[in-house]
Amino acid sequence: MKKLNFHPCGNYKERYEQEITLFETDFGRLWSGIGIFLLFAILPFIVSPYFLHVLNMVGIASIAAIGLNILIGYTGQISLGHGAFIGVGAYAAAILATTLNVPFIITLPAAGLVSAMVGMIFGIPSGRLKGLYLTIATLAGQIIIEYVLVHWETLTKGTMGITLPRPNIFGMELESDLSFFFLIFSCLVVMIWFAVNLIRTKYGRAFIAIRDNDRAAEGMGIPLFRYKLLSFGISSFYAGFAGAIWAYYMVSITSEPFTLGLSVEYIAMVIIGGLGSVSGSIYGAVFITFLNELLRWLTGIMMNIGALTESGLNVAPLREFFFGTAIVLFILFEPRGLAEVWRIIRSNFKLWPFAY
C-alpha cells in the first residue's frame, strides 16, 4: 500500500509533479472526500426549504464566479460584462428549450457555448487594448447586450420574458428544490474539477504568465491574443452555463436581472473571495449571496418598525449601502480576500497546539 502523507515536516518535493499536485497531503484528499459526502448525503436533507433555496443560488453564483475568476484572477483581464454573458446563457437556454424543443441535457452546454461565442466576440478588443481601456470596452459590451436582450423582441420576447418547460433528465422531471440541488451541485463539482485542472495545464500557466507580465509572456512564445480570447471564451462558458441553470431554476426569465449591477456583484464576489483562487470564488459567492439574504431579511424587519417608517426613512437602500461598504472594506483591509483569511487561519492551526 502507498504510504499516506499527512503532515510533512519540511519540503520533501523531489519532482515537478509534486509541485503542481492538487492535494499536497492525503489529508486534503481525505477532507475533500468527506466534504463531498456531507454535501450530497447529509446537507440537503437537514436544512430548511428556504435555506435549500439559498444554497442553490450559492451554487449557481459559484459556477459563474469561478468563470469570472479565470478571466480576472488568472488572466488579469477585467471584464464588466459578466452579468450580460449570464443573461446570454439564460436566454440561449430559454430559446433553445421553447422554440426548438431541445432536450434539457443538451441546452445547458449549448447555452454555455453560445455565451462563449458572444464572450469571445466581446473579447476581441483585448487584442489591442488592455487595462482600463479594455474595462471600458467590456462596459460597452454589457450595455449593448442588455439593449439587445430587451429590444430584439422576435427572439427574446422583450419585457414579456420567456417561460421555460420543466427540465427533464432521462425521463426524470426536476421540479423540487431538492432535485435542483443535486443538479446544481454536481455541475458545480465538475466545473471546479475542470477549473483547478485547467490552471495546472499549459493553458492555465499561459493565462498566469499573461496576467503577471504580458510582454514577457509574449517573449516566451505565448500568442497573447489567442490565449486572451480563449480565456474570455472559457469564462463566458461558465457564465452561460450558470445562466442556463438559473433560467431553468427560476422557470421564467426577463432581461431585468442581467444589468451592470449583476456584473459588479460578480466582480465583488471574486474580489471578496480572493483573486486567482478557485476556492476563493466559492467563498465570495457564499459571502455575497448570504449578505444579500441577510440584508433582505434585515430591511424586512426594519420596514415593520413603526418609528422608522413613520419618520419617512426608506430603509431598502441600506442594502446598496452595505454592499458598497463590504467591497470598500475588503479592498482596503484584505485585498487578497477570504481565501487569504482562510489560509492564515489554517496555517495558524497547522501544528496546533505546538507552535513550533
Binding site: 481601456y133 474595462t135 462596459l139 460597452a140 449593448i144 465583488a268 431598502a316 449601502f321 470598500v328 482596503l332
Partner: protein, 292 residues
C-alpha cells in the same frame, strides 16, 4: 428643417452638459490615472446637497451654491485621503472596484435620505435668460448652464496655466516621477485634483438637476454616459471632453429624432467600441496608450 434645427440645438445643449460632467472625470484621470466609476454619484451628491441647502436650510441661492461647492470640495478631499491614497501602486482592478463600491455607498445614502423619486428645485432663474428667436426656443436654464460652464472653463484654464498649484497638477499629469524629483508634493496634488473634480462634478450636478430634475438613478446613469464622451475626446484632454460631449449629444438626439428613441441610449456605446478599436486615444488624447 425646423425639426432639424430644434434637434441640433437640443443636441448641443445636452452635449454641453455631458462635456461639463466629463470635465471632472478627466481631471481625476489626468492627474492620478484613476477611472472614477462613482462620478455619477458625485454629480447626484452635488445636486442633492444644493437641494438640501435650498429647501431645508433655506439659504439664498448664491450662498447655497457656494456652500455646495465647498462641501463637494471637502468631500473630494476626503475620498482621496481615506479611500484612494492607501491604494496607490495597487493593481488596477482594486482601484476600479473601490470606486464602484463608493458609488454604491453614496447611492445607498442618497436613496435613504431623498428616495428614488424625481425632485425639483424651486424656480429661481430669471426669465430674461431665455432666448426666443424664430423657431429657436432656448429655455433660461440652458443659457444659465452655458454661462456657468464657460465661466468655469475660463477659470480652470487660467488656474492650470498661471497658478503654481495648477502648474504642479499639470507636471504630475505629465510625468509623475519627474515631478516628484523636482519637489512637487504629488500626494497633495492628487488630493487637490480629487477635490477640484468633485467640485466640478457638484456644479454640473446642480445644472443637470435644474434642467432634468434630480433623481439618483438618472444622474448616476449620466456617470456611465461619461465614458463614451471621454474616450471620444481623449481620456486626458479637458477640451476634448467638451468636444466629445457635444458630438455624443448630437449623435444621441439625431438617432433619437430620426431613427428610434430607444436606440439613442445605446448609440454612444457603439461609438465607444468603434473608437476604442480604431483610435483608442480619442480625438485629442495623448497617443501614448500601451498597445499589446
Amino acid at each position: 428643417m425646423n425639426f432639424f434645427l430644434q434637434l441640433f440645438i437640443n443636441g448641443i445643449s445636452i452635449g454641453f452638459l455631458y462635456g461639463l460632467s466629463a470635465m471632472g472625470f478627466v481631471m481625476i484621470f489626468k492627474s492620478s490615472s484613476v477611472l472614477n466609476f462613482a462620478h455619477g454619484e458625485l454629480l447626484a451628491l452635488g445636486a442633492f446637497f444644493f437641494l438640501a441647502m435650498l429647501t431645508w436650510v433655506k439659504l439664498p441661492v448664491v450662498v447655497a451654491f457656494l456652500a455646495t461647492l465647498a462641501a463637494c470640495f471637502i468631500l473630494g478631499f476626503i475620498i482621496e485621503r481615506f479611500f484612494l491614497r492607501p491604494l496607490i501602486g495597487e493593481p488596477l482592478i482594486y482601484v476600479i472596484m473601490l470606486t464602484v463600491g463608493l458609488a454604491s455607498m453614496f447611492k445607498g445614502i442618497m436613496l435613504l435620505f431623498w428616495g428614488g423619486n424625481l425632485q425639483t428645485y424651486p424656480d429661481f432663474l430669471p426669465a430674461f435668460l431665455g432666448i426666443e428667436w424664430h423657431v429657436i426656443n432656448i429655455p433660461p436654464v440652458y443659457t444659465a448652464a452655458l454661462i456657468i460652464g464657460i465661466m468655469f472653463l475660463i477659470l480652470f484654464g487660467l488656474f492650470f496655466k498661471y497658478s503654481s498649484q495648477g502648474i504642479f497638477m499639470r507636471s504630475v499629469a505629465d510625468n509623475q516621477k519627474a515631478a516628484l524629483s523636482l519637489g512637487v508634493h504629488v500626494q497633495r496634488v492628487f488630493a487637490l485634483s480629487w477635490a477640484i473634480a468633485a467640485l466640478v462634478a457638484g456644479m454640473s450636478g446642480i445644472v443637470l438637476g435644474i434642467i432634468n430634475g434630480i433623481n439618483v438613478h438618472d444622474l448616476s446613469a449620466i456617470g456611465l454616459k461619461v465614458f463614451p464622451v471621454v474616450i471620444l475626446g481623449g481620456l486626458d484632454s479637458i477640451g476634448g471632453a467638451i468636444i466629445g460631449g457635444l458630438i455624443i449629444g448630437l449623435l444621441e438626439t439625431f438617432t433619437g429624432g430620426y431613427i428610434s428613441p430607444s436606440l439613442s441610449d445605446v448609440v454612444p456605446y457603439v461609438i465607444l467600441v468603434i473608437i476604442l478599436m480604431v483610435k483608442p486615444y480619442g480625438l485629442f488624447g495623448l497617443a501614448e496608450i500601451e498597445r499589446v
